[in-house]
Point group: C2
């Protein structure tokens, strides 16, 4: 009983069905970095078809588009996040961060007997 | 965008490795109800060998025994939770419940724009 307890908190958001979680969060973050869904998928070692399905499925349940296709330029065929997607992603990230902070404090309180 | 957003929060506890989560919680709850690991496993449609491994693995990482074998009586060969296990399980359940409550309030606050 020497090692201190830590909590990993995973949040899935639902409307009617599962619609948003750590996987799509990571994918959208990667689209923001790479400016393309294809490159984002590659960076996560995920098949492009799977990434595309994740986006479409999430859009369907959330009720708004997540990506805008960009064309032209030397790296034509990219994608950027819609304003709605940015807002939702940022709300999810804030939500997870605040839950983690609260969760870490609560863990200490509830499991004080164990960490002694 | 008619359906309201809900969050499902999953908590895994770690010492050095993963040691406690929804699976072992459900199994220990079932042992309390059925008074036997074998019956608990059956109630969850889980192989007894898998349930036994889950318990042993969890005990190893937590550093204390979870179950005491009981013998005798007409249903001999049962098991009950140790006091340490009861204390830990109850701390985990309280932890998850309070996190859920906080999480539901926070969800409303962070995603108010979406639920409108």
């Amino acid at each position: 009983m020497e090692s201190e307890l830590k909590a990993k908190i995973r949040v899935l958001l639902f409307t009617d069905e599962k619609c948003f979680g750590p996987g799509i969060r990571q994918l959208l973050d990667a689209v923001e970095i790479h400016g393309s869904l294809r490159k984002a998928a590659i960076s996560m070692e995920m098949a492009y078809s799977k990434a595309w399905k994740m986006v479409k499925n999430c859009e369907k349940h959330l009720g708004f588009p997540l990506l805008i296709s960009t064309t032209g330029g030397k790296n034509g065929g990219g994608a950027v996040l819609t304003d709605d997607a940015k807002k939702f992603l940022s709300a999810y990230e804030e939500y997870c961060a605040e839950l983690e902070t609260f969760g870490a404090k609560l863990l200490y309180e509830k499991f004080e007997f164990y960490n002694k």
